[in-house]
Symmetry: C2
Subunit: 636 residues, 2 copies
């Protein structure tokens, strides 16, 4: 078959491929990540690229305007190359694969809730710990075997359950003990009710690090933790490289069913490796001193990390392979830390409420709370937990990744260049706050919430979210679709206008409606309403802050006293970190996860009606939002 | 380098090698086992072969007579080939490597002591067990994960500690459970205080076998056990293939120190594999249904099986790598059973008192006994345990392998063709009993004890074991060395006379003296004497019986009431089997091994004197053997 060369811009990656291959396939081959929500079915329009040179053949699509097509736009998944070509990947389509965010961006992912503010504290008892030993050398009077001698010393200095060790450690022991002149450091890992002596090193080598990971569908966040001091050394984040197989979990599961499980596993393992690699090189930590990883992620992501078949998550009765994966050797799943180090998983609650939510419960202390608490985690799905120390109920809404910056054309993740705050002044000017330096690239979750609320309050959209033509010079019609210009091209990083389209607004309203309706139904299923909620905790990686007032105005959050609402940041990473630092915390996460009842929204008869009502701003039932009604009335 | 072809007879193996290679090296290369006590240093004279054709070059040696050299005899380790050659390996030099003894021979290795005769009984609780499960399929109301669902069912049907499982099992679970329509068999292995779910198979597959192994320095014995019914299905034995690296443990340790550990490990692993292979093929058992191996052996053999460096066993303070090896995946040490099956080790007591002795304690119930019990295990070394339920003391004597048929020219192991009973009639005729059919090949341990006692009683040797010239037509002089003809060549399997030489007699007397002196010193170290011993249990694989009277006459055993002496057979295999069938037995073996104090004979000042006195028949102090004195007086 004839070969063609395709060059991807702006970075310039070159790949040789077959005539007739799609640009999306070629990009994957070249290691270039292109955002794709639908996974290549030509439905989402996420994989928009610009053909700068060369002959291509594309299927017809309604997802590109005539104007765009004239400017060279094409859908990477629907476009086949006929000859050598140059393809520009515009900013909006760049999923950036596992490209690692800059450090100061990554810091923004740091969990914001101090460990013990809510009385959630655990004794320092890392899952993997090191102990420096001076072993008395053998004599005729004390001629215990090397193993028994070493373990005697370990038991003298540490408490804990029975100790296991493997043949490899045992085989190296006699030589190592003598070479080290009987001064060694033992690494002990807690594992299924026993302690495993995972390695013995010569001398005093107590440097011991772990990595806590929030394995999100869109974003993967990792914190490097000094296990001895409990200090968070550094944080790093990247986009989940699986995105090129589909941005939605379901798409990825379908890809796995079609033989792509290994690819999906490799993608996420690659992300973990790049994150760990960046963290250790920046902090002069040796790889062998990283002995543990704790992953918190939704159930599907946990399956992908461990290489478990997720197929049955997608179809009733939605059965995971496991909600409580055992600790495994990290190397066994391709994660590169100390070759004998372990990878632990925060237990899931069910097929659609994952370890990230268990971690959130742990981090917020919801399961210990006397007060009725609601935890809303706005990730790619919106998961909600309601309860207190007596009972817990959880559901998952199909909010979609809009607030994470996906499925919204101008959306970006909360990082360098993201617009995180938006204000529309009474003069109609748009004031922005951008993360980091430089021109804005797009709008992250918190900015999107602001933007919608401001558009509503300024009367530029109506209650159903329709942009009003003529209401502002920034509202314009392009190919019959209305859009609002946030930033004009020459002030934007990509040189193109940053706009929010009518379609984007509808995506966001669907997402906020899903969350609100889910929360509402969860409450009413136990005969409660929002007024009964003592604490409403909002978690997620969509920004560094949440303008509670605007979230209420939008109808994303209920109209309760603002002091009861709290933005708690990334509780998944916090819970993972707690587990890493304390075996008792992980044990408590197991108990908590077993204590949660899963509530299936889909089987609830009124869900669709509730969802439709909640798509209004703030809601069709105005009485639910008394404080909002008056403000919006003024605007309209 | 020029090549030569060497053919080994009688089997006809052909090997091509370099001019100048030793015959021993070439034999190893050809897979032909030649007995070698010294490991190739030209000291033992064990590797006598007959050069039938071809040119060789040999170092001078005092270990061959002129006559032998004329008949073509050479020491394989000291003889280098110069051209193509044919080499006959005479019966006496054939170590037979791992050649498997015939079934009816192997049966003779069966332990003779019924499990509960001495009140030693344990509940049936195999180290590895299988449970057939009908797992309720998932539904919307019961949508536990596959792992949790399976384990719920396991816990419903079995008791036991926490269950661990590995990633491989987990990864295969969803497909397997559904393919098997939720009817599966789970295999659970006890491992360091937890249960490991080692495999899940579709359907009802409760066939479950284990192998108990006595890993002896000279002989390896394996029993195939049905773990469900506790029935011993079959037994098999072979010679330890490590013999070609030296028959003594010390020689093998030196070989390991010189980089030969892997070779030694491979040799014994090969033996285990051949034994298992023979057992399963003969009994139509599938390899995957063999899920556990329990090894009992001396400490060095346990090191070799596990690939642990035995170097420090040889030099003070005689420190093993471990006395309590953890269970390991059998595959990890090259032992082929079910790929996920485990290999367990009966714990040792110290560097020179091994797991075979712990197994002996377990099997005889010595550690539970109210009576003062002495267990004498006559293997390659003679190990002795003294004690009762309150205390235990053990020592190891350097008896050497004489009673196992090694280091005695006419000696053979107790198997097909071995002379196991000898009587010299008043007319001077020799009456023999041979194991199995066919002509005799040599004399096994029990026959050697008989032979020496009969020679002494018939007055053919004096009290110091010297053959008396002219005392019988069977006593003759060859090249200045006296020997006694047991069987003339035309009645012997090898066509050569079966004789016992003066040197052989001295080897045997050293062995019996080492055992007697060791036992005596062990007793006197705690202020006791033989008269205080309630039960004297003699264990070992040297035959199917022990003529207690003759053993006493010889001075191997003390002159106590015969009814207090009991031959208990191979207690190492019995203890291994108890451990295989009952986790509580293995646990008790661990406790028992910790309860034994090691007594170091070498550091005892009078040991050498005691040993020298015990070399007499029965002893220099006649008063110790009142019943014997009169019988020998008549003879002299």
């Amino acid at each position: 078959m004839d070969k063609v060369r395709v060059r991807f811009l702006p970075a310039g990656e070159v790949v040789e491929g077959d005539v007739g291959a799609t640009i999306l396939d070629l990009a994957r081959e070249a290691g270039v990540s292109i955002s794709s929500v639908c996974g290549g079915d030509g439905i989402c329009g996420g994989c928009r690229v610009i053909i700068q040179k060369g002959e291509v053949e594309a299927s017809p699509t309604s997802l590109l305007t005539r104007d765009e097509i004239r400017r060279g736009y094409a859908l990477a998944c629907q476009t086949r190359v006929r000859g050598d070509a140059e393809v520009l990947i515009p900013l909006e389509a760049r999923s950036e694969g596992a490209q690692i965010l800059l450090d100061d961006d990554a810091q923004r992912f740091r969990a914001l809730l101090p460990v013990d503010e809510e009385g959630v504290s655990f004794r320092h008892h890392p899952l993997v710990s090191k102990v420096a030993l001076k072993v008395p050398p053998p004599s005729l009077e004390d001629n215990l075997g090397d193993q028994e001698r070493l373990l005697r010393e370990v038991r003298r200095q540490t408490d804990g359950p029975q100790i296991q060790l493997g043949l490899k450690v045992l085989q190296g022991l006699p030589e190592l003990l003598r070479r080290a002149d009987w001064e060694v450091t033992a690494t002990l890992a807690l594992r299924g009710g026993v302690r495993e002596l995972v390695q013995v090193e010569p001398g005093d080598r107590r440097r011991n690090f772990g990595v806590a990971v929030d394995v999100g569908t869109s974003t993967v966040v990792a914190h490097l933790v000094d296990l001895a001091s409990s200090r968070t050394v550094d944080a790093e984040a990247c986009y989940n490289a699986q995105a090129s197989f589909g941005e939605e979990v379901t798409r990825r599961i379908i890809h796995a069913e079609r033989g792509g499980l290994q690819e999906l596993h490799d993608a996420i393992a690659g992300d973990l490796n790049r994150l760990v690699s960046a963290l250790i090189s920046r902090n002069a930590v040796e790889l062998k001193d990283v002995t543990a990883v704790v992953c918190a992620g939704n159930t599907a992501m946990q399956h992908f990390v461990l290489g478990l078949d997720p197929a049955r998550l997608r179809k009733g009765p939605y059965v995971p392979v496991t909600t409580t994966p055992p600790p495994v050797r990290a190397a066994e799943v391709g994660v590169k830390i100390n070759p004998r180090g372990l990878l632990y998983t925060v237990p899931s609650i069910g097929g659609w409420v994952g370890g990230d939510i268990t971690a959130g419960i742990l981090a917020t202390g919801l399961h210990r709370s006397e007060q009725l608490t609601m935890l809303v985690d706005i990730g790619t799905n919106g998961e909600i937990v309601l309860g207190n120390r007596e009972w817990m109920l959880a559901c998952s809404t199909s909010a979609g990744p809009a607030f994470e910056g996906s499925s919204v054309r101008c959306g970006v993740r909360a990082g360098q260049g993201a617009i995180e705050r938006v204000e529309i002044t009474s003069q109609g000017h748009v004031r922005l706050e951008v993360i980091g330096e430089g021109k804005p690239k797009g709008v992250c979750g918190s900015g999107l919430i602001d933007l919608l609320a401001e558009l509503a309050e300024a009367g530029l959209i109506d209650r159903s979210g329709q942009l009003k033509p003529g209401s502002s010079p920034r509202v314009r019609d392009r190919d019959g679709l209305l859009e609002f210009v946030i930033v004009v091209g020459d002030r934007a990083a990509g040189g193109e206008d940053i706009v929010i389209t009518q379609a984007d607004i509808e995506n966001l309203l669907r997402a906020k409606a899903a969350v609100y309706a889910g929360a509402d139904i969860l409450l009413s299923s136990v005969g409660l309403e929002f007024a009964d909620v003592d604490r409403l905790l909002v978690a997620g990686g969509f920004g560094n802050y949440l303008d509670r007032e605007k979230a209420v105005l939008l109808g994303l959050l209920p109209d309760i006293a603002l002091e009861r609402i709290r933005f708690v940041g990334n509780t998944a990473i916090m819970g993972a970190k707690l587990s890493l630092l304390s075996a008792e915390a992980l044990e408590e996460a197991h108990r908590a996860s077993r204590g949660v009842t899963y509530f299936d929204l889909i089987s609830y008869p009124d869900y669709y009606d509730d969802f439709m009502s909640a798509k209004f701003i703030p809601h069709t039932e105005e009485g639910r939002f008394p404080s909002v009604a008056s403000r919006l009335k003024e605007a309209v």
